[in-house]
Symmetry: D3
Subunit: 67 residues, 6 copies
């Protein structure tokens, strides 16, 4: 299956914090940290664990540039 | 100045394509490619050029996880 | 592969319009029309065609409610 | 009043879960489930209840395609 | 009709530029300029014109803070 | 440093509410209220306080128009 979302960054889950309906997931992407806020349901559905090899999916229209 | 947006990934601009009101910017982030869709105005305002060292800014709520 | 994005609506591609860097895709979801704006690159990468059975992927934080 | 957001999917509220500042709303859209994450304030402002006929509003740039 | 999206800023359309599938709309909000990128279809559906009194609708999760 | 995000609205922080991983920030923008949902981490990183002069940063593709 292919996804129109252009950005699939390979990374490793460093930390997961869950509170109420929401979870914060920190991902190591080539030495840089990426933070994702997803639902608790998603964390459970993916059985997401520290150390997991994952892809961070980001739609191109959600990416800004700073210079 | 600090920004609430949690993700600022260091990268290098690999390619810029402008068409009409919109531009597509490809960024190398530690060997992985990140694509950003921004306005032509933004490309001109930042004087964005191939080879520029930039930061990709992404709000944490815009990041999904695939596993 | 599982995705944290909570919404995967089954649908059929009704029409694709491409212009410059961008494409507009109309999808029939159980008799209702869903419009997606993605990149031309994504349309080509998925070899997207009218009549294709697809899933529309939408992050839960992108869905508003009107009543 | 008209809204530029292209997607207004008719649905029925199946469940509402509120925790802290945030709420998760499950909507039945023609037999498929759509999940929305909105603020608690919005749930109260709309007096949102299970069984309500609503429209899910989604900007076209927030919709991805999987095939 | 009420909308869960928390932000409805009153403003006046200052300029509309349409190109291909996309339009850029500049709105005056109390002396500050807000730029919106929407579809050409939306501009036509709303019969949007320079000088129109409108509301800019923004989901709270799309707003970042800089300090 | 310049940012591709087109909208930087000057405002004053009126209220901050933090719960779990998330915070809700109300900002006065020329007499209108703008609500932002960001992470608790961001509030702490910016040392955000009631009365702060800030800029609300919003990507143009996240702004809808109602008329």
């Amino acid at each position: 299956m292919k996804i129109s979302g252009r950005n699939k960054l390979q990374g490793t889950v460093k930390a997961i914090e869950v509170d109420g309906l929401i979870a914060k997931v920190n991902v190591d992407v080539g030495g840089q940290t990426l933070t994702s806020v997803i639902t608790r349901d998603a964390v459970e559905d993916l059985a997401l664990r520290q150390g997991d090899q994952i892809q961070a999916l980001i739609k191109a229209t959600s990416v800004m540039i700073m210079k």
